[in-house]
């Protein structure tokens, strides 16, 4: 176990280093200049600015400075907001994104498990078909389309929730719903398949034969065993939520890192783009590692040491 963990952590660091390197050199290839009014600047002004941001050094030095800084949690200074370090820019915005992501994950997974379980228990009935249709729709309708529709019909027409902004809990409801639809649909499909499998297994028959009530069989045996593989979906969910945050935060004007990412791309703010890319990658890599460990712990059939083929 310890050996496996060390190996995984080594690869994690390697991955992050490669990502940091690739991003850094890609950013150097990027067209456009970080200065908004480059045409109006005199040569001296440019030189002063370049010096301030360290852009006058050779690229390999810039690279080493960047990597060394990153190890100390320093992602450089944003080009867009003068003198604001990227780290604090991201730090100030991370909370909103994480909150939104967690809320969406919990809502989507809980509802998905319920819908999937009910569909499996009522296999072949109209309940099942309805759940299937909803999950296909949830998988197919892009979340940004849903977000715009929610914003207009529920936010503006019905006025149930504020249409945009951040600060109160009521403002988080619509973006959470829009983000939760993907995980919901995926979970419902997954749990349904998994439950149908579980329900036809021998230990369920045994439970019934022992005289356990239907609910007890479902709760103690069917649910628990169907939910174990769900852990493997956490990685893909994290990716979906990160992706979704970019557009959902934009639509609902949430001050999160997804919204900042899009803004930075549109303004050629390299340090922020690199910083947020790294935050996304670190987040995903850590989540994947935790997923693997948790999966090994809750399902003893999976031996972490052997999983390396």
């Amino acid at each position: 176990m310890a050996r496996y963990l060390l190996k995984r952590i080594f690869y994690m660091i390697l991955t992050l280093l490669i990502v940091a390197t690739v991003t850094f050199f890609l950013m150097k290839l990027m067209p456009g200049s970080p200065y908004a009014n480059e045409a109006k600047m005199t040569l001296t002004q440019r030189q002063i600015m370049d010096q301030q941001y360290g852009l006058n050094k050779p690229i390999w030095q810039q690279y080493l400075i960047y990597i060394a800084g990153m190890l100390h949690g320093d992602f450089g200074t944003s080009f867009q907001y003068s003198n604001q370090p990227v780290a604090s820019l991201i730090g100030a915005r991370l909370g909103a994104s994480v909150q939104l992501g967690l809320q969406a994950l919990i809502l989507g997974v809980v509802l998905g498990v319920i819908a999937g379980a009910i569909a499996a228990m009522r296999q072949g009935t109209w309940v099942d078909s309805t759940a299937t249709v909803i999950s296909i729709l949830g998988k197919s309708v892009p979340n940004f389309v849903l977000a715009v529709l929610l914003q207009y019909y529920i936010g503006l027409k019905l006025g149930w929730f504020p249409i945009a902004g951040w600060g109160q809990f009521s403002q988080t409801i619509m973006p959470t719903i829009a983000l939760a639809v993907g995980p919901f649909a995926e979970t419902a499909r997954f749990i349904r398949t998994s439950m149908v499998d579980t329900l036809s297994s021998d230990y369920i028959e045994l439970g019934k034969a022992k005289g356990l009530s239907r609910m007890e069989v479902i709760r103690k045996h069917a649910m628990r065993n169907s939910m174990i593989p769900l852990v493997t979906l956490i990685g893909p969910y994290a990716v979906a939520l990160m992706t979704g945050s970019m557009v959902i935060e934009n639509i609902f004007n949430v001050p999160g890192i997804g919204e900042q990412f899009v803004k930075s791309i549109l303004t050629n703010d390299y340090p922020t783009i690199m910083g947020i890319t790294m935050v996304y990658c670190i987040g995903l890599v850590v989540i994947l590692l935790i997923t693997d460990i948790v999966y090994g712990l809750i399902d003893p059939r999976i031996r972490l040491d052997e999983s390396e083929a």
């Binding site: 390697l14 890609l26 067209p31 197919s140 940004f144 715009v148 149908v196 557009v247 995903l284």
Partner: protein, 343 residues
């Protein structure tokens, strides 16, 4: 314990007629090949069959429209026809399809208001520059389908080849190849796509390159896992001991046996790719004017949604139908290829 002898008289039995007994051995139908079996099972999934028809129709309409709808017709604007709602011949009675639009709670004939000739119809209305929304949607669908085809192409080439080589070679090669995939997939796909778009010029070309980099990893993983188990099959061993080259084994033995996984995975890559394109264009870093795509149309429509909801609804509906059709088609094919997996 003594066994009781059962005394049954001979006339207690009813002999079957002779010809019927022979029938028992008879196999009624010709034996079916794998493909025929798949087709039989696929036909039973109504939703999947309808989806397949919709996909084919969309492909025919989108690509068949090329002579009529191209970049030059797309950029022609007619400001006098701007923001007209849908008007379909023969639909005079249905508000929303008869050229009328709700203004301050009343339905007003926007065509008469703007002095549009009586015989001019825009089946899906027009956008803010007076360009036919229907034409733009068809063009956008074509872009989505092109993106889908490209993603499928990379899945089938890079993904399959990478997976087979990795699984077949095994050992160190496999290890290195898997580490590379691990690295690529621990970066969110969208971040790769976005970074590529930042470096290259936004447009269909960059989207294609971005998809080429990121879309094939799942396929490669699945193909590798399956190759690992196929490699130990006896027919592969037989082919090897007969001295077949690796290339020939891969092509003649592995690919046919991998075909169901490959087809199913391709069908799942396609909606993801379509979503990518729409998503990128929607946030403004994908396809940009004068080109258009469903994502661009959604973005334009969203700005005017409060007053001209049709400008967002129509492209949204087309995009959703496209996504639903591909998803259902994928599910149907999965069930058809792999009947063991319960639905």
């Amino acid at each position: 314990m003594t066994e009781e002898k059962l005394n049954l008289p001979a006339d207690a039995f009813d002999p079957l007629p002779k010809d019927e007994a022979q029938d028992n051995e008879n196999i009624a139908g010709p034996s079916l090949s794998f493909a025929q079996n798949v087709w039989l099972r696929f036909k039973q999934r109504k939703a999947a069959v309808i989806s397949a028809i919709i996909v084919i129709l969309m492909i025919v309409v989108a690509f068949g429209s090329t002579p009529f709808i191209n970049k030059s017709t797309l950029v022609k604007s007619h400001p006098q026809y701007a923001n007209l709602p849908a008007k379909v011949p023969g639909m005079g009675a249905i508000n929303g399809l008869n050229g009328k639009i709700k203004q301050n709670g009343k339905w007003v004939d926007a065509y008469a208001q703007n002095g549009v000739p009586k015989d001019k119809y825009f089946i899906a209305g027009t956008d803010y520059l007076g360009r036919s929304l229907g034409q733009r949607i068809i063009y956008g669908t074509k872009i989505s389908l092109i993106v889908a085809l490209v993603a499928a192409f990379f899945d089938l080439t890079i993904g399959v080849a990478y997976g087979i080589v990795s699984g077949w070679k095994g050992g160190g090669v496999d290890n290195v190849m898997q580490r590379i995939i691990e690295i690529i997939s621990s970066v969110p796909n969208l971040v790769i796509v976005v970074l590529m778009l930042v470096v290259l010029k936004p447009g269909i070309g960059s989207i294609i390159i971005a998809i080429a980099i990121s879309s094939w990893t799942t396929m490669a993983r699945q193909v590798r896992a399956e190759t690992l188990s196929l490699k130990n099959e006896e027919y592969v061993l037989a082919a090897r001991s007969l001295g077949e080259s690796s290339w020939k084994i891969a092509w003649k033995h592995l690919v046919p046996n991998l075909s169901s996984i490959i087809i199913i995975q391709t069908m799942y890559t396609i909606p993801t790719a379509i979503f990518f394109e729409a998503f990128l264009s929607f946030i403004g870093i994908g396809i940009s004017a004068p080109e258009t795509s469903l994502g661009v149309l959604l973005n334009e429509g969203q700005k005017n949604f409060q007053f001209l909801p049709y400008q967002m609804w129509y492209p949204a509906i087309v995009l959703c139908i496209l996504m639903i059709a591909f998803n259902l088609l994928g599910d149907g094919l999965r069930d058809a290829f792999d009947p063991r997996g319960q639905r």
